[in-house]
């Protein structure tokens, strides 16, 4: 599984609030609203043998951390690092020169989606043979992945109860 910033942020934040008492972060939760939706997300992510993300996502997490906890940067970074450690998350680099020159991606896609999303599409292509699934909260990225024939799921669909 390849994780985008949104799902990582949600998983980190819920655990920080529920397990470690960071009540002020509650307002950062947009998809996971209760223990049941966290449980569903956890089971879904846990049903994949390995998890990875792109180094660009970590850069995007940096922006979120700085905006969210200006007075507690170390605390929130620590929580994110702990979550990566617990999830045994891998982190891969997709080089800009590769993004810009790849046939399926290219400068057009970079201009349209930005480097974070394109790096994730790059990872999805890299791991396509293993049937990797990209999990995101970003609807335009979902659409582009579907058009490119890449496996993708919107986090909203994972969080919602199945009928």
């Amino acid at each position: 599984m390849i994780l985008d910033t949104g799902p990582i942020r949600e998983m980190v934040t819920f655990r920080a609030v529920a397990e470690y008492g960071f009540e002020r972060l509650q307002e950062e939760l947009h998809f996971i609203t209760d223990p049941e939706s966290y449980e569903r997300s956890s089971q879904f992510i846990g049903s994949f043998r390995s998890k990875t993300t792109s180094a660009s996502v970590v850069a995007e997490l940096n922006y979120w951390i700085r905006r969210t906890e200006p007075a507690g940067l170390e605390r929130l970074w620590n929580r994110v690092a702990e979550e990566f450690r617990e999830m045994q998350m891998d982190e891969e680099v997709v080089r800009l020169v590769d993004m810009a020159s790849a046939g399926e991606l290219g400068l057009g896609m970079l201009a349209k989606l930005g480097s974070v999303d394109v790096s994730l599409m790059g990872l999805a292509l890299r791991h396509a043979r293993d049937g990797a699934l990209l999990l995101t909260t970003d609807s335009p990225l979902c659409g582009e992945c579907e058009r490119a024939g890449l496996h993708v799921s919107h986090f909203q669909d994972v969080v919602l109860p199945r009928d």
């Binding site: 998983m11 397990e19 008492g21 002020r24 043998r49 390995s50 998890k51 200006p70 045994q88």
Partner: protein, 245 residues
């Protein structure tokens, strides 16, 4: 000649700084500390031998605000807090020491090593048929420490997406039941010592939180200042900015 130190005036910026930069973050951190201690979760980590979310009081205050912290402790209006903070920090150091002693003893105890070996072997066989059970030889080295950490922190179940969840959620009872008695591991005394210092820390944190809340109220009433900065001309949704002094 050094002038006499006068009591701060009404609406004193200095007192505001004590409340916003010292008392408020420490109170918030103590609330979180008590929340964790009530559950028995020390947030203790094997790799650092430290508690992730329980810190010496000074560390709850941002680096940039340390001068206000020192000013707070040095002013006669706040007499007694330096000693209370020191007592808290000594209790925390004691907790971290006992947690290390307990976990070190545990991972070297013959019964624990055997139990770990048997459970891992069973898990290894399960992993052959179930691709979701990840097994590699490095687990032999890392898992005993991870299990000791979970036992120190009294963690019941791990979220399914965590790497050790499949192992822990399957074999938890085996280890968890034993930890109540710990006689087979020969670690009962070390565990009881850890529980004792954990309870002592919680008692201190409870008392400190009560005293700090009372002191904040006293300062706010005496010097007529709000208990938190009032946002001026900003949307209330930007809480991060509001809370930053």
């Amino acid at each position: 000649m050094v002038p006499d130190v006068a009591s701060p005036p009404q609406h004193s910026k200095r007192v505001e700084a004590w409340v916003y930069a010292v008392l408020n973050p420490v109170i918030e951190s103590l609330q979180r500390e008590i929340f964790l201690l009530s559950k028995g979760n020390l947030s203790w980590r094997f790799y650092s031998k430290k508690c992730e979310y329980i810190h010496p009081i000074r560390d709850y205050v941002g680096l940039a605000q340390r001068p206000n912290y020192e000013d707070f402790l040095g002013d006669p209006l706040n007499t007694g807090f330096a000693e209370k903070y020191a007592a808290h920090d000594r209790a925390l150091a004691e907790v971290e020491l006992k947690a290390s002693q307990f976990s070190n003893g545990l991972i070297h105890a013959g019964v624990f090593v055997r139990q770990m070996h048997e459970s891992l072997e069973e898990y290894r066989l399960l992993a052959r048929t179930n691709p979701l059970y990840r097994y590699d030889e490095s687990l032999k080295g890392t898992l005993p420490r991870a299990i000791a950490e979970l036992l120190v922190n009294r963690i019941e179940a791990l979220p399914e997406h965590y790497g050790t969840a499949k192992f822990w959620n399957n074999y938890r009872n085996k280890f968890d039941v034993a930890v109540e008695e710990l006689e087979p591991y020969g670690e009962r005394q070390a565990f009881q010592a850890l529980v004792q210092v954990r309870e002592a820390l919680k008692e201190l944190a409870d008392k400190l939180l009560h005293d700090m809340n009372a002191h904040r109220q006293l300062l706010c009433r005496t010097f007529d200042i709000p208990a938190a900065p009032i946002p001026v001309g900003r949307s209330p949704s930007h809480s991060a900015d509001i809370f930053a002094i």
